[in-house]
Symmetry: C2
Subunit: 349 residues, 2 copies
C-alpha cells in the first residue's frame, strides 16, 4: 500500500492541499492517505510544531503532501517552537537534501510577471537547492564576547560529499533538460564556496552533454532580473538557494502557481511536496487561495516518489488547460474559489 502523509499545516494550507489530494485521488486511485498536524497546527495540537506522531508518519510514508506553515500567533515563541522549525526538522530528519524548484511561466499567464513580457518569454528555470547543510545547520548560537558584547554566530560549511550529491542532482536534471547547469556560489570570498566550486568543476567531465558555468551569487541575483531566460538549471547551496529561488519564482510572476519537491533520491523514494507560497493568514479560511501550486506539487509527487511521469504530465497539462479556459482565482485577477478552480482542473484531466 502506498502511503501519502498529508501535512496540510496552517493558514491556506488545508484548503489548497484538499484540492491537490482530490486531483491525486483521481489520477492515481487507491493510494492510502493519513493526515497529521504540523506547524502552528502542530503546536496547537500537542505543544510542538512537529509532533512526534507527525514525524513518524512522514518517515513511514512514501511521500509527504505538505501545505504551508506559519501563523503570526506563534512568531514570538522560541525558535524551536515556531512553525518554521517543523520544516527544517522534517528536511533533516528525512534527509531531504535536494530541493527542486521550477520557475516556469504558463503561456496563459505570460503577462503576470512584473518583468517585461519579452524578458520572461519562455522562462523555464529549475533551481536545485541543497537543503540539509550550509549555514542553516552549522553550529550556531549567541554568546557574550571578550569585549562584553552580545554576539550571534552561525557556521557556514559544506564537505565534498554533500556538494557532490546535490551537484549530481543538478547535472542529472540538466541532462534531462537543455543541458545547461549554472553553479552559484561566492567563491571570491568564501572558502565554503571555493570547495563547492572545485567539487562541482571536478564532476563536469562525467557529464559531457552538460555545459557547466559558474556565477557569483550577487551576479546571479542581477542576471535573474536582467535576463532570466539565460538559465536552465541552477544548482546552489541552502542559503543562496533560499534567496534565488524566491526571486526566480517572482520573475515567473505568480507565486500561487509554483510547486516544489524536497528529495533524497531522484525517484522512487520518499519526498516532500509543497507549494512555494506561504500560509497567507490574511486570506485563510476564505476559500480564495489558488490551489494550482499545491496541485502542481502533487504532480511532482507522482513524478518523483511514485515514478509515474505520465500521470505527472497529465496533471500539469490539466492545469495548463484550466488556465487556457480563462479560469482564475483572485490572485490572478479572477473570481473563482479554491474549490471551483480545483473543479476546473478536475474536468480538464
Amino acid at each position: 500500500m502506498t502511503l501519502i502523509a498529508v501535512l496540510a499545516g496552517d493558514g491556506i494550507g488545508p484548503e489548497v492541499t484538499a484540492e491537490a489530494r482530490r486531483i491525486l485521488e483521481a489520477v492515481r486511485p487507491g493510494l492510502d492517505y493519513q493526515e497529521a498536524p504540523v506547524g502552528g497546527a502542530g503546536y496547537l495540537a500537542s505543544g510542538h510544531p512537529l509532533p512526534e506522531a507527525t514525524l513518524d508518519l512522514a518517515k513511514r510514508s512514501d511521500a509527504v503532501l505538505f501545505g504551508a506553515i506559519g501563523d503570526p500567533r506563534f512568531e514570538k515563541l522560541e525558535r524551536a517552537l515556531r512553525p518554521e522549525a517543523a520544516l527544517l526538522s522534517l528536511r533533516s530528519e528525512l534527509g531531504l537534501f535536494a530541493n527542486i524548484r521550477p520557475a516556469t511561466i504558463f503561456p496563459a499567464l505570460a503577462s503576470e510577471s512584473t518583468l517585461k513580457p519579452e524578458v520572461v518569454d519562455g522562462l523555464d528555470i529549475v533551481i536545485v537547492r541543497e537543503l540539509t547543510g550550509d549555514v542553516y545547520f552549522g553550529e550556531k548560537g549567541q554568546r557574550t564576547n571578550a569585549a562584553g558584547l552580545r554576539e550571534g554566530h552561525d557556521l557556514m560549511r559544506y564537505d565534498e560529499s554533500e556538494i557532490r550529491r546535490i551537484a549530481t542532482v543538478g547535472f542529472e536534471m540538466a541532462k534531462r533538460r537543455k543541458g545547461k547547469l549554472c553553479s552559484v556560489d561566492k567563491a571570491n570570498v568564501l572558502e565554503t564556496s571555493q570547495v563547492w566550486r572545485d567539487v562541482v568543476t571536478s564532476m563536469a567531465a562525467d557529464y559531457p552533454d552538460v555545459t557547466l558555468t559558474h556565477m557569483y551569487v550577487d551576479n546571479a541575483a542581477m542576471q535573474m532580473v536582467r535576463a532570466p531566460t539565460q538559465f536552465d538549471v541552477i544548482v546552489t547551496g541552502n542559503l543562496f538557494g533560499d534567496i534565488l529561488s524566491d526571486q526566480a519564482s517572482m520573475c515567473a510572476g505568480s507565486i500561487g502557481m509554483l510547486p516544489s519537491a524536497s528529495l533524497r533520491a531522484w525517484s522512487g523514494d520518499t519526498g516532500m511536496y509543497e507549494p512555494i507560497h506561504g500560509s497567507a493568514p490574511d486570506i485563510a479560511g476564505q476559500g480564495k487561495a489558488n490551489p494550482c501550486a499545491a496541485i502542481l506539487s502533487a504532480a511532482m509527487l507522482v513524478r518523483h516518489s511514485l515514478d509515474d511521469e505520465a500521470s505527472a504530465q497529465r496533471i500539469e497539462a490539466a492545469v495548463a488547460a484550466a488556465l487556457d479556459t480563462g479560469a482564475r482565482t483572485a490572485d490572478l485577477g479572477g473570481n473563482l474559489s479554491t474549490r471551483e478552480m480545483g473543479d476546473v482542473v478536475m474536468r480538464a484531466l
Copy 2:
C-alpha cells in the same frame, strides 16, 4: 590641502575615473590628486593587488576615488592575490563599515529597466550594507574532516556594536528621506540575524520619525521584483547586502548609472567612492564605457567626504540634464564615447 586618492584599477576603471576626476576638478577646483595602482594593476606593478604604497595613500587621503577591479588574467591566483582582495582589504583597513548604494531611476531612463515601467516608476531605494563584518570576515578555512573529507567553512558573526553602528546609518538615512527603514535578515534560521533583529528593534525608539520594518532576505529578494518601490532605505549585513544591492541596481535598469560610497562616518571623513559596475574587460580601452556611475560616485564623494551637499547636487543635476538632452553611451543604446559623455555632463554643469 584636501587629498583625493585616485585608484583607477583595471579594465574600464581608468577611463571612467578620468571623467569623474574632470568633473570633480571643475566643481571643486584646488583639490590635490594622487594616483596609485590597485587590483590587477597593483599586482602587475608590484606583485600585490593592494601595494603598500597604495594602501598608505588611501589612508592618508581625505577620500578615495575608486574605479573598478577585476582582470581575468589573475583569476586563478590564490585568493589573497586576486584583484578582489584589494577591495576587501581597503574596506577593512580603512574601517569603511557602511556601504551606501542608491538604486534610482533617472526619468530619462525609465524604460531601461527590464521591469515594467509601472513597477519601477519613482524607484528610489538606498541600500545600506554593512561592509567589514559578517561571513566575509569571520574565521574561514578548509580542512579534512573526521570522515576524511575535504570541507570548507566560514563563520558568520555580528556583535551588537557592529550592528548598532550600521543600523545608525540606516536610521539617519531614513530620517533624511521618506522615513522608512526596512531591516533585512534571516532571523527565522540564523542566530546572527536574531541578534541583528533584536539590536535594530531596540534602536527604533530613538527614531520616532522612522518607521522600522523587518523582512526575511528571501522575501526581500522577492519583493524587490514584485514591488520595488515599496522600499525607501534597506539596512542589512554584508552578505545579504551584496546580493540585494546588485539585484536592486538591476531593477533600476542601467548598471552604468549607479554609484556607491563606502564610509566610516556619515560625513567629513575618509570614504571610498566607486561605480557599482565592474571592470568590464571586454570593452576596456575602447572608450565605450558609461562614465555616469563614476561621475555620480564623485558626487557622493563631495557630499560625504567634503561635506558639500550643494556641489553634490550640482553634479547630479548635470548628469540628469545630460541624459535629458538624449546623450547616451553604448550601454544605453547611444553612440557617445566615454569622453563625449563626460563632455556633455561638463557642459551641463
